[in-house]
Amino acid sequence: MITVDTVTVGYGTTAFVKAVDAVTLTINDNEILGIAGESGSGKSTLMRAIYGDFSTGLRIAGGTVTGRFEDERTGVVTEAQSRDFGKLWWDQISYIPQGSMSVLNPLMRVEKQVVDGLPKREREGDRAALRARIAKFLEGFGLHESVLDAYPHQLSGGMRQRVLVAIAAFVNPRLILADEPTTALDVVVQKKILLMMVEIQRRLRNSLVLVSHDLGVHYQITDRLAVMHRGKIVEMGPTAEIFANPKHEYTQTLIASLPRIDGERREARA
C-alpha cells in the first residue's frame, strides 16, 4: 500500500518549477489504479515521484510518499519513503515503460535483459533452470521461448511491450507502475497487453498503477481512476462511476471528446 500525502513535486533547485501540486492519494493492495490526464498534467511526474526516480533534478518539495510492502512468501513487511525506493526496485516495485524502439539495449539479447536486474532470490540456482523458468513464464503470455534469443530489433512493437510487461512481472513485485504501456500500439495488440496486465495483477494480488492519457484504456481495466489537470487531481473515484457521472468539468470534456464507446466494460475481477 502506498500513501501519497499532500505531495508537491517539481524540477530545479534555484528556480523550482512545480509539476505536481499538493496531491493526496492512496494506492491500495490488490487494485488497478489509473492516472489520467493530458501531457503536461503532471501524471508522469507523479508517477516518477511514486516510483522514487529522482534523477534529472526532480525533487519532492513538500509532503511524503510512503510505501508499505508485505512480502507474501516471507511475511516480511518493508516500510520506506519513496526517496529510498531505489533499494526496492525490481524486488518490491517494478516498472513498465512505453515499449518504444529504443527502450531495450539494441546490442543485448532479450534473455540477458530479463535476467539483468533480477533480485538475488530469483537469480539463485543455475542459468539453465532460470532460463527455463523465464521461458515458462513468457509462454503464459503467448511468447515463444525463441524470443529470449532474439535481439530487440527482431521483435514487433507488441511483442516488445509484452516482453516489458513480463520482465516487470517476473519478480513478483507488490507494486507495478506502467507508463503509457499501450500508446503507439494498434487496438488489437493494445487489448492483448491490457488483458495480460490484468491477469498478472489478479494473480499477484498486488497494486498496479496505470498512467495513460487514453481514457479508453482506463475504461477497460482500471478499478479506480484519478484524473489530473495542471498538477492537481481534479477527480478521483471508482472508474465506472466517473465514466457514468463525471463531476468535474475537465473530466466531462475529456469523456465527451472520446469516440463513442460501445460494448460492455470488461469487469476485470468478479
Binding site: D53, G86, S94, D116
Partner: protein
C-alpha cells in the same frame, strides 16, 4: 543469405578499389616530365655502382618490365596489374640486388603492423576508458580537463609528436635510443626487451595522438547514449552505474567507432610511415624511404603498391567485421 551477398559485394568493391589504386600507381610515372628509367639509371650510376654496358641494358630491361613499359599502353597496363595481383612479383631490389623486393617487404611488414596494431590497441583501450568515464559525468572537472588534453593532443601530426618525443627523451634527456638497433638472439628475452625498448618512443607518438581522438569521440558518444531510453530503463531496473556503463553504454559507444576506424586507416598509415623514418624503425616506411634515397625503383613500386593494397585490405576487413558485431545487421 543477405550476409553472404553483403560479403560478396564488399569483396568485389575491394578488388575494384585495389585495381583502381594500382591504376593510379600505373599512371603516376607516366605523368612525370622525366623518363623514370633514365632518371633511375642516372641515380644508380651516381651512387658509384660500376656496371658494364650489358648490365645496364639488362637493368634497363628489368626496369622497363617493372614499370611495364614495353608494348602498347593497354598491354603495359594489363601486364602491370596482372603481375602484381596474380604473382605479387615486384622483381629484384636494385640496391640490395638480387634480393627479391617481396622478401624485403615481408621482412618489414611485421614491424609496421606490430607497431601500428599494438599502439592503436593500447590507445583504443585507454581512450575508451577515459572517454567513457568523462562522458558519463561530462560536467565534472576531471572530465573537462581530460577533454582539454585530448583536444590539444589529437590535432598534432604523429611525426611532429615523434619529433618532440625524440628531442625530449633522446637529445635533452638521453633516456631512449635515438635510432633503432635491435639486439639479441632470436626468441630470447633480450630480443623482446630490445624490441620493446626501441619501439617505445615511436609507439608512444602514435598512442598519444590516437588516444586523444578516442577520448573525444567516445566522450561524445557516451554523452549521447546516456540519454537513451534503454539506459534510463536499465537504471530504473536498479542496475548499478558500473553495470550500465560496461553492458549498456560501452557496447553502444564502441560500435560506431568501427566505421570511423575504416575511414582513418589511411591517415594512420601515413603517419606511421614518417614516424618510422624519424626513428629508423625497420618497417615499411623506412623501406620506402631507403628506396627513395637509393633510387631503387623496383623496391619503391613494390612498397608503395603494397601500401595501397594493405590499406585497402585493412579497410575491407573492418567493413566485413562490422556486420558480425552489430546484431542489427547480422540478424535481420
Amino acid at each position: 543469405m543477405r550476409l553472404l551477398r553483403y560479403i560478396a559485394g564488399r569483396l568485389v568493391v575491394y578488388l575494384l578499389v585495389v585495381v583502381f589504386g594500382l591504376t593510379v600507381l600505373f599512371f603516376v610515372p607516366r605523368l612525370g616530365p622525366t623518363d623514370p628509367i633514365e632518371a633511375m639509371l642516372a641515380k644508380v650510376a651516381s651512387q658509384g655502382a660500376y656496371m658494364d654496358a650489358s648490365q645496364v641494358d639488362r637493368l634497363r630491361e628489368s626496369l622497363a618490365d617493372t614499370f611495364g613499359l614495353s608494348g602498347t599502353l593497354l598491354e603495359q597496363y594489363w601486364a602491370f596489374i596482372k603481375r602484381i595481383l596474380l604473382t605479387g612479383d615486384f622483381g629484384p631490389s636494385l640496391s640490395m640486388y638480387p634480393t627479391p623486393v617481396m622478401e624485403l617487404i615481408m621482412n618489414a611488414l611485421p614491424w609496421t603492423f606490430g607497431l601500428l596494431l599494438t599502439s592503436t590497441l593500447i590507445a583504443w583501450v585507454l581512450g575508451n576508458f577515459v572517454g567513457l568515464l568523462s562522458g558519463w559525468k561530462p560536467e565534472g572537472t576531471s572530465s573537462r580537463v581530460m577533454e582539454g588534453i585530448a583536444i590539444c593532443l589529437y590535432p598534432i601530426p604523429y611525426y611532429i609528436l615523434a619529433l618532440v618525443l625524440s628531442i625530449l627523451f633522446s637529445y635533452v634527456w638521453k633516456i631512449f635510443p635515438l635510432t633503432t638497433t635491435i639486439r639479441g638472439a632470436p626468441w630470447s628475452w633480450d630480443l623482446v626487451t630490445s624490441i620493446l625498448w626501441n619501439s617505445f618512443l615511436p609507439g608512444a607518438s602514435i598512442v598519444i595522438v590516437v588516444f586523444g581522438w578516442w577520448v573525444i569521440s567516445v566522450k561524445a558518444q557516451t554523452t549521447a547514449i546516456k540519454e537513451e531510453e534503454f539506459v534510463r530503463y536499465a537504471r530504473l531496473k536498479g542496475l548499478g552505474d558500473g553495470r550500465i556503463l560496461t553492458h549498456y553504454v560501452l557496447p553502444n559507444a564502441i560500435l560506431p567507432q568501427i566505421t570511423f576506424l575504416a575511414l582513418q586507416i589511411g591517415l594512420m598509415f601515413n603517419g606511421s610511415l614518417i614516424t618510422e623514418i624519424l626513428f629508423d624503425y625497420p618497417g615499411l616506411g623506412l623501406l620506402i624511404y631507403s628506396a627513395v634515397l637509393q633510387g631503387d625503383f623496383n623496391l619503391l613500386m613494390g612498397t608503395i603498391s603494397l601500401s595501397v593494397i594493405a590499406v585497402a585490405t585493412a579497410t575491407m576487413v573492418i567493413d566485413l567485421i562490422y556486420p558480425l558485431i552489430d546484431p542489427r545487421i547480422r540478424h535481420r
